[in-house]
């Protein structure tokens, strides 16, 4: 069907930027999966819903600021407030989830915690679906339009902002984990909970902090998602959640750099990869094949390199 069999270089540039855009959000989300796995060996399946709650919190802030009426410097203020409120809301939700659904079963067989996580995920999805009568809400179109770049190679402001903001958040997380005493506690707990406790680390508090950090990253992702893709709804967290989990596995679950790399890799693979595949003679891979590509990658990585792209896990169970 494709008449432009060989597309121009700027086309591939645009698709790469698209891939990095989705990849940024996957990476922000994957960090939450990988950190919680690092300390608890738990796949936090409710993480996609934490992302969704952040996105909704940001939406309500935007509406509070006047929705489509926001203009001038208020644009920056409203986005900043939306991100802060979303981080607070997501963190509160994540702490509550940890306290109610994970801590009571922490010493039970891990399947119990996994089921608990799936239960929380479904509960939150349907709670929000019910409260919004299952309708999509749309973020106001306030972000300044335009782009920067050279001749045909243009990146729109919003994509630049999205990719930039996610990199800032990831650097912030890196500093927290690597350069602060809280970060040292997190690494200690990930290494060995019991020994960390013996050495005076408050394990429960550290685990809560891990949930807060992960939720904050997801909340930023949620607001960026809303600003860019506009539509938010109760079930919006499911697919990005599963994709981010895939990204975490691709990078090597438990590894922070792995989650970031996995996120970008997945974003590029499903966007640029699909465009390449669909240009092969006799193949027609519609847009809906993105998800097939993403999950096929998961299969291939598990088959040939089960520990992920980054090889060994940096966090190892005792």
């Amino acid at each position: 069907m494709q008449v432009f069999f060989l597309a121009s270089a700027s086309f591939w540039f645009d698709q790469t930027v698209n891939g990095l855009t989705s990849g940024s959000i996957y990476a922000l989300l994957a960090l939450g999966y990988t950190m919680v796995y690092g300390v608890l060996q738990l796949i936090n399946f409710a993480h996609g819903e934490v992302f969704m709650l952040g996105s909704f919190a940001g939406y309500f802030v935007m509406v509070g600021f006047g929705g489509d009426e926001i203009a001038g410097p208020m644009i920056a203020v409203s986005i900043f407030c939306a991100i802060i409120v979303a981080m607070a809301a997501s963190s509160a939700a994540a702490v509550a989830i940890e306290r109610i659904a994970y801590r009571p079963v922490r010493n039970a067989p891990r399947l119990t915690a996994l089921i608990s996580a799936i239960g929380v995920s479904i509960f939150l999805q349907f709670l929000v679906l019910d409260m919004t009568s299952a309708k999509a809400k749309f973020y106001p179109a306030i972000f300044p339009e335009g782009s920067v770049g050279v001749s045909d190679y243009q990146v729109s402001y919003i994509q630049l902002f999205l990719i930039g903001a996610s990199i800032v958040m990831m650097l912030f997380l890196y500093v927290v984990v690597q350069r602060t005493s809280t970060g040292r506690a997190i690494r200690a707990v990930a290494e060995d909970k019991d020994n960390a406790a013996l050495l005076g680390v408050n394990v429960n508090r550290t685990i809560v902090i891990v949930f807060i950090l992960g939720a904050a990253m997801a909340a930023v992702g949620g607001v960026l998602w809303g600003l860019f893709f506009r539509g938010v709804r109760g079930t919006m967290g499911f697919l990005p959640g599963i994709k981010a989990f895939t990204a975490a596995v691709l990078g090597g679950i438990g590894s922070i750099p792995g989650a970031v790399a996995g996120g970008y890799f997945l974003g590029l693979a499903e966007t640029v990869g699909r465009e390449m595949l669909t240009r092969l003679p006799g193949v027609e891979f519609g847009n809906e094949w993105r998800d097939v590509i993403a999950f096929s990658l998961l299969v291939l990585v598990l088959l040939f390199r089960p520990t992920g792209i980054f090889g060994e896990r940096t966090y190892r169970r005792a």
Partner: protein
């Protein structure tokens, strides 16, 4: 733990937990199997929902008509399969309200009409699930399903149960297309067939908008893929070029890749075959990078929710609406009753007149075939089907009668084109 479990089972549970969390040599194999399963499910879910998945095309011969007995004083049950919650609520609820008006105050041999609403979500799964529920409820006929995807999934169930269903709003060509191994004897529709909408849109694009190159973005359900073909074929027959076609699944929000493809093509117009819930984010993302390209879509997008959601980005969008000429005594009477009952104008929502007519068709047929038997009422579903097939009435949408495929061949349906101007739909001149 659970007392009845012996030690081995608990051990198995724990080991399974470990496997799921990547802690075992076997992990990769289990993950491989699980992942393959996911991929397989996705492949199925993403597969085309259009014409070709009904090759076993169960039809008339599978069904058998029963005779339903309505107890003394009990109401006659008619099902309504529509969307009652979610993005398309503002499309679906008025349809149910309009259908219910047709039964208001009607008594057949002393039995009232009771409508039973079921939410079909405008999806194939929802259509089939609503069908099972309504059949279980013991309805004698159904108004609906609302969407073509739902119709196609539900047709086999209704056919097997011998339940005649009259859709007010399913327009996909595939719903009555003979190449599906049908026509289904129990399916009828009051509304038009997309066979008239796609060519009218193509003619408009070629002759009025003077474009020769279009890009098609379509919902992969029966409605979207039907329009894709109807528009695409007519556009190419008229001398136009289709520079690309891309499908998406319902609830998609990320259209970046499609938008970039459109930019990379020579298309002057984007033809969108789908519903407003996806058209809104799509158009917003398209307008971020391209202010000039024309946007043309159909009845699935012509909704006030589209104007509200897309805001300024909707300006200049062209939308077609095949609509019978809504006038005459029956329509006026319906419209004033609808206004009185709901406080909204019947014309604010598409397909209300069709829903009223669909219910009327069923009720008129019931009056012909229902036989009083003491205090009870006997309804032969085969005779009911026959009576509906032979319908000849003047409805709110004009004359209604059905051809052998189940399409309404009664009246004319001109296709009207609208353009969004200052946040409103204005008829194109």
């Amino acid at each position: 733990m659970v007392p009845s479990l012996n030690g081995r089972q608990i051990y198995t549970m724990e080991r399974l937990g470990g496997i799921l969390l990547f802690n075992s040599q076997r992990a990769r194999w289990l993950w491989l199997i699980a992942s393959l399963a996911i991929v397989a499910m996705l492949a199925i879910a993403c597969g085309d929902d259009d014409d070709d998945d009904d090759t076993d095309g169960g039809n008339g011969d599978g069904g058998s008509f029963e005779t339903v007995t309505v107890g003394d004083g009990a109401p006659i049950k008619i099902g309504i399969s529509t969307i009652l919650a979610g993005d398309l609520e503002s499309l679906g609820v008025p349809i149910a309200q309009a259908a219910e008006l047709a039964g208001e105050g009607v008594e057949i041999e002393g039995h009232a009409i009771e409508f039973i609403r079921r939410d079909d979500q405008c999806t194939p799964e929802g259509g089939a699930s609503a069908a099972s529920q309504l059949i279980e409820e013991g309805v004698v006929a159904v108004v609906g399903p609302i969407c073509s995807g739902g119709v196609i999934a539900a047709q086999d169930l209704y056919e097997a149960a011998g339940i005649t269903h009259v859709s007010p709003s399913s327009t996909a060509i595939a719903a009555t297309a003979p190449d599906r191994g049908t026509p289904y004897g129990t399916f009828f529709r009051v509304t038009y067939n997309d066979g008239i909408q796609g060519p009218a849109q193509a003619e408009f694009a070629l002759n009025e908008l003077k474009v020769t190159n279009a890009y098609i973005v379509y919902d992969t359900d029966a409605y979207g893929s039907g329009l894709r073909d109807a528009f695409g074929d007519a556009f190419e027959d008229g001398g136009g070029t289709i520079s690309g076609k891309e499908g998406y699944e319902k609830k998609e929000t990320n259209f970046q890749s499609i938008v970039t493809n459109i930019q990379g093509s020579d298309a002057e117009l984007v033809y969108f075959a789908g519903f407003y819930a996806e058209a809104t984010p799509f158009l917003q993302q398209l307008r971020q990078v391209d202010k000039d390209i024309l946007f043309l879509s159909g009845d699935g997008v012509r909704d006030d929710e589209f104007l509200a959601g897309a805001g300024a980005d909707a300006e200049g969008a062209y939308l077609s609406l095949p609509s019978p000429v809504l006038q005459g005594a029956v329509y006026d009477d319906f419209a004033s009753r609808f206004q009185a009952a709901t406080g909204e104008a019947a014309s604010d929502s598409p397909f209300t007149a069709e829903a009223f007519d669909a219910a009327t068709v069923i009720i008129k047929a019931l009056m012909e075939v229902a036989e009083a038997d003491g205090g009870e009422l006997k309804i032969d579903l085969g005779a009911l089907n026959e009576a509906i097939a032979n319908t000849k009435i003047d409805g709110a949408v004009g004359a209604i009668s059905f051809d052998e495929k189940g399409d309404n061949s009664g009246g004319e349906t001109p296709v009207t084109l609208f353009v969004v101007k200052d946040g409103e739909f204005v008829a194109y001149e």
